[in-house]
Symmetry: C2
């Protein structure tokens, strides 16, 4: 499964080769390189891909948690997906990503065959200017992974000049989509869950060592909702919680351009400073 130049970078990065029926092999995704190892969102999407392409898969993703245990080395890696339990309409998976027999990441994925039910939402999409009114972030000089996204900052961006002081909170709102454009699917939605800059950078307006340790995404979108979204911009809002003794948490929502909540996503991250 060699990446061809006609494939989208996300499809190249998340591609897995079936080794022996029980484990899969992936390649270090250089196009999504981050400060140390690859962008966590693309690791998460790759693990999700191992489930979604598995012959035993039943249903669509509803919840996924990924734990980043160590930086991925610039080498091939193995993914071992395991069905923990299959019920009538739900399925639980556990996954490991390893290099040289050592665990680099673990994940759990919950799938369900959804049925119709009462529908509601407790919050509405924030009112913000449409994407066409906001210049995209100039990603030259950013880490490789950022260049695979188009981000239009509504508020709460990072000022690399160092001229902006500490903020009261780390609220960010941005329009985001894959770059080049790619119709939304569960893989790209999972990857975009991790596309916010570290909350501690936004709150303090300074860079420091920081990285996601554990990330959980709840999918409210089903295939039909993803199809309707297509390759349009997603409104992404993230907030910080508490920053205490090397760890802080982030809550975020991803809204469709029609105002439907596609996913909510949470993470805890390490920081030093």
């Amino acid at each position: 499964m060699t990446g061809s130049s006609s494939m989208h970078p996300l499809d190249q990065a998340t591609a897995l080769e079936n080794l022996d029926g029980s484990s899969l092999r992936g390649q270090f995704p250089y196009a999504y390189a981050n400060m140390v190892g690859p962008y966590g969102g693309v690791i998460a999407a790759t693990l999700l891909n191992a489930v979604l392409t598995h012959p035993e898969r039943q249903g669509e993703p509803v919840a996924m948690t990924v734990n980043f245990a160590a930086p991925m080395a610039e080498a091939a890696y193995a993914v071992v997906p395991k069905v923990s339990r299959t019920n009538r309409s739900t399925q639980h998976w556990t996954l490991e990503l390893c290099q040289d027999e050592a665990v680099v990441a673990t994940a759990t994925v919950f799938l369900a065959v959804r049925r119709d039910s009462w529908t509601g939402a407790d919050t509405a999409m924030p009112e913000v200017p449409s994407p066409s009114h906001i210049e995209p972030l100039d990603t030259r000089g950013y880490m490789a992974w950022v260049q695979n996204y188009q981000m239009r900052m509504v508020q709460g961006g990072f000022d690399p000049s160092g001229q902006t002081g500490e903020q009261d909170n780390a609220l960010t709102r941005m329009w985001v989509r894959d770059h080049p454009p790619r119709p939304l699917d569960f893989l790209s939605l999972m990857a975009i869950s991790d596309s916010f800059f570290p909350r501690v950078f936004i709150r303090r307006q300074q860079r420091m060592p920081a990285g996601t340790v554990s990330m959980t995404t709840y999918f409210h979108a089903d295939s039909e909702m993803l199809r309707r979204q297509g390759d349009r911009d997603i409104l992404a809002e993230a907030r910080g919680g508490r920053y205490y003794r090397n760890y802080y948490d982030q809550d975020a929502e991803l809204w469709s351009s029609d105002g439907d909540l596609l996913a909510t996503t949470h993470q805890i991250a390490y920081f030093k400073g």
Copy 2:
């Protein structure tokens, strides 16, 4: 490890017997029985207990995710904790809870040896009346597990009379602690993460089949903060996200009586109706 009447119900419920060095045995916690199987919070606390009492444990819990794959039968169960990765100051665990070789729950736990860092919070504890100004919920007639908590509803309770109509949102604020009182530790904090009534009951003010599928808690409290809290009331706030095709999500915060954020907790739950 037979439960003695002098032990707190939570300590009895979360007790595990070491079988063979690699797996542990627990007993169905009748004192925390729920509609189907036991209260999820006590299953989560029991899995956390398997890590915290393990000889290889390093550090204090920072993040935990539990996936409820099937109802626990009224019988003994086995817990298998596995160290996925130990780093210099962090450790990742993966756990399975099984009955008759079938998986009932899976979990991941992330531990860290925390060090001092910059500290901040993006939000403050909501201003609410003190616990002494609010009558505790009369738990007679509720499921067994509820009777192990003292809950004082500030807003967003459930009206069992059926006389309250659908609400605009499912915001709940309550003071909660173990009953009888028990000094706060990571086990009780993990259990209290799940102590909110289902958001869909609060939003619609009606009962229907509902249950947590996956729950993630981020601990901001360290041992010292837990010690300061002692057995005082915790201010717990929960909100609903989206309710769509059988699943909805909940975000919540647990605040110390001194106004420190002890934990943030998220879950996705099934509902039918």
